[in-house]
């Protein structure tokens, strides 16, 4: 943002004329924080998760704890001195995922009872070491299935029944399109992570407007990037931070790159606030219709195959700019009444060769 515009916006905001973003920290700040996710250092040890696909919860020279936000992780260590018996723990990992280290770097897997926790001991040598965490079939082109669950908010106390129901589905992981909690505080986000112990598959999420209750939002420290991209079993996923009813220009730049590299793949884009609410009079959507249409046209031209949204507490299936779209905000937040939809999650079948082959709403009622 130009200095003049930022100053004007701040002045108007402070005068109470508008609640402009200058008062609270714009989406740009969150996009910049995305760039720091997955990096940490402790004494003579540095860690960097490729593409910022995991949040570093804890790092010492004895061990590290990470929260994965993608099925496949590549972690780079740079040690100033050898660190034998370094304990690496990844929470929110794919069940069955295995650590891979370069030849000559001993790793000793540790059994855990939590299906979404991967843990190992590594004898980190001095210098750079790349460690990968992936399932053996992470590159398989076979059809598979994932779930979408968003907008839990104040229903966090009873979300476990949805997690248990999802665990009964043969899904590889669950996507979260934001509003995991009511205010996005550290305690609420930690509670959500504890509740995830009821879910037997990982939960990869972006944040929603309800995660903006603290400044800066602790989401990035606990869950990871607001905008991220990964590929898994022949399908590309882009999670975008639309929590402020807009995308930061930085995110548009990343999206352009992600669309270009995913051009030949099935590409799924998920974000919290949809560009356009099918109930236009409600405008549970981007602040600017102009920007919404710009984004939709860009995604359509960029080969996006499926768009998934939250924010509106119902289920709706529609098309935007010709792209298949689903709003699924059934995590338990105050529901839209008279829509015939209760607390629910969406199950999506994908086939890297044939595209999206199935969509099914699992409705648990009120």
């Amino acid at each position: 943002m130009s200095g003049v515009a930022r100053t004007l916006r701040t002045a108007l905001c402070c005068a109470g004329i508008t609640g402009a973003t200058a008062c609270y920290g714009p989406p740009e700040d969150r996009a910049l924080r995305d760039l720091e996710v997955g990096r940490a250092s402790a004494s003579e040890l540095e860690i960097e998760v490729e593409d910022g696909l995991a949040a570093v919860h804890d790092l010492t020279e004895e061990g590290a704890t990470l929260w994965a936000n993608a099925p496949v992780l590549t972690i780079r260590f740079r040690a100033g001195e050898p660190l034998p018996g370094f304990r690496l723990r990844i929470d929110n990992a794919m069940p069955g995922a295995r650590f891979e280290a370069p030849a000559g770097v001993p790793i000793t897997p540790i059994f855990t009872e939590t299906p979404t926790r991967a843990e190992t001991l590594i004898d980190l040598p001095r210098g750079d070491t790349r460690v990968r965490l992936a399932e053996p079939d992470a590159e398989s082109p076979a059809p598979w299935r994932f779930a979408l669950l968003s907008d839990v908010q104040e229903a966090i106390g009873r979300v476990q029944d949805l997690f248990i129901a999802i665990s009964q589905e043969p899904v590889r992981f669950t996507l979260g399109a934001g509003d995991l909690t009511e205010r996005g505080t550290v305690s609420q986000l930690r509670l959500f992570q504890r509740k995830l112990e009821f879910l037997e598959v990982p939960y990869y999420a972006t944040l929603g407007n309800h995660e903006l209750g603290a400044s800066p939002p602790p989401f990035h420290d606990l869950f990871g990037r607001g905008s991220s991209h990964f590929a898994y079993r022949g399908v590309a996923f882009s999670l975008l931070d639309s929590a402020s009813a807009t995308l930061d220009p930085l995110v548009y730049g990343w999206l352009d790159g992600w669309m270009a590299e995913s051009r030949d793949r099935l590409h799924v884009v998920a974000m919290h606030i949809p560009p356009v609410d099918p109930i236009g009079l409600r405008n549970g959507s981007f602040a600017s219709r102009n920007e919404a249409m710009k984004l939709l046209g860009r995604m359509a031209r960029g080969g996006v195959d499926l768009t998934l949204y939250g924010h509106v507490h119902t289920y709706m299936s529609f098309q935007n700019a010709g792209i298949e779209a689903h709003i699924s905000g059934g995590g338990g937040a105050i529901p839209e009444r008279f829509d015939g939809v209760g607390r629910h999650f969406l199950v999506v079948d994908v086939d890297p060769e044939r595209g999206v082959t199935g969509r099914r709403v699992v409705d648990l009622g009120d």
Partner: protein
């Protein structure tokens, strides 16, 4: 349904002043309304009323007038503030309890906007009434122009779009009760054009060639807008229907002479066509606007502070963090002043997703 809600809330000011509004349509050509002459003004001297209008007036609207000895006006402002708060509470409860149900969201949102409008207008009216000169800062024109032309420049900053400079041109032609107003905005540094044609039917209020002493009116308006975002590869065509008007606030009390309020509401249907054979999108927008304004000079000009719920146009909706993301429209101030009978200057500033400011040259014929 939406219009019913509007008449119940957003236009409560118009309703409160309905007798004056009806009278305006039949008001004979007379000299301007008498001012409060020196010695006849019951207002207390000194800063007490102005201070009371700020506190406790920010909470208890009319406190300034009460301190100034204008009990009737004070009570009317307080009642209208109460109506505004009640409208916000009732309609906000409807939104909350129904989860912004698609079946209730439009009238409830209009009720909230109207309530906020009443709150804001009565606050500003209280401050105005105890700080403005006895005659106000001006009065409505003795006859309204049958032709107005405006040409100017707008600087704009929208971080999502490249345009920074707009040339604007508009013409308003009035004949009897009808008004036709074509206008255009052309980006000077980008391929972006917005063309708009408004037509209005004045149901109540002054007409061209008919002397008047009031500015109050009530209109039914239609508009067609075509906004071409050539750089981004899409264009939007919007058809809209609105109804609303202006109320001279001296209908509430003599101290409010020279001030007016405006309110309008309606609905728009937008169709977006994308380049590249991408399927088009069609959606609806809720339109609502309220304003507080002042006449400047003897029919020379106006200054208006307004809220516009539009999420399209150059300003679009406000980008705010947190729970209200995507919901609010934009805020602005505009005004004009005719330095001579025919020639004048205009200025405008708006803050929404974009920040806009600029000036215009104006011409009128009466």
């Amino acid at each position: 349904m939406a219009l019913r809600s509007l008449s119940g809330a957003a236009l409560a000011l118009l309703v409160a002043g309905a007798p004056a509004l009806a009278h305006a349509a039949e008001a004979p050509a007379e000299a301007p309304l008498p001012c409060l002459e020196p010695g006849t003004d019951p207002r207390l001297p000194g800063p007490l009323p102005a201070a009371a209008a700020l506190f406790p007036g920010v909470i208890v609207h009319g406190a300034g007038h009460y301190a100034a000895g204008h009990d009737d006006t004070a009570l009317t402002l307080l009642w209208l503030e109460g109506a505004g708060i009640a409208s916000v509470l009732v309609n906000g409860s409807v939104l909350g309890l129904t989860g912004a149900s698609r079946y209730f969201v439009a009238p409830a949102a209009l009720g909230v906007i109207g309530g906020v409008g009443l709150f804001a207008i009565t606050l500003l009216a209280d401050i105005y009434g105890v700080t403005a000169p006895p005659c106000g800062f001006g009065r409505p024109p003795a006859t309204i122009p049958y032709l107005e032309v405006e040409a100017g420049y707008r600087g704009i900053y929208d971080q999502q779009f490249a345009y920074r400079h707009l040339a604007v041109l508009s013409t308003t032609v009035r004949s009897g009760r009808w008004r036709v107003a074509p206008s255009g905005a052309y980006a000077l540094n980008d391929a972006n054009t917005r063309l708009r044609l408004e037509t209005g039917l004045r149901v109540l209020g002054p007409l061209p060639h008919e002397p008047t002493r009031r500015g109050s009116f009530f209109e039914i308006d239609t508009a067609a807008t075509h906004h071409d975002f050539d750089t981004e590869g899409f264009e939007t065509t919007t058809l809209e229907l609105t109804t609303g008007g202006r109320l001279d606030l001296d209908a509430i009390g003599p101290t409010l002479r020279g001030a007016f309020s405006e309110a309008s509401a309606g609905v728009a249907m937008a169709r977006t066509r994308y380049d590249g054979g991408i399927p088009s999108d069609t959606d609806l927008l809720l339109l609502a606007r309220f304003a507080f304004g002042l006449y400047l000079g003897p029919g020379r000009g106006e200054a208006t502070l307004f809220y516009d719920h539009r999420h399209d146009g150059y300003a679009a909706g406000s980008i705010i963090p947190g729970l209200g993301s995507g919901v609010p429209g934009h805020f602005g101030v505009n005004g004009f002043y005719y330095v001579t009978e025919a020639w004048g200057l205009g200025a405008e500033g708006m803050v929404g997703a974009a920040t806009i400011g600029g000036i215009s040259a104006r011409f009128r014929q009466r």
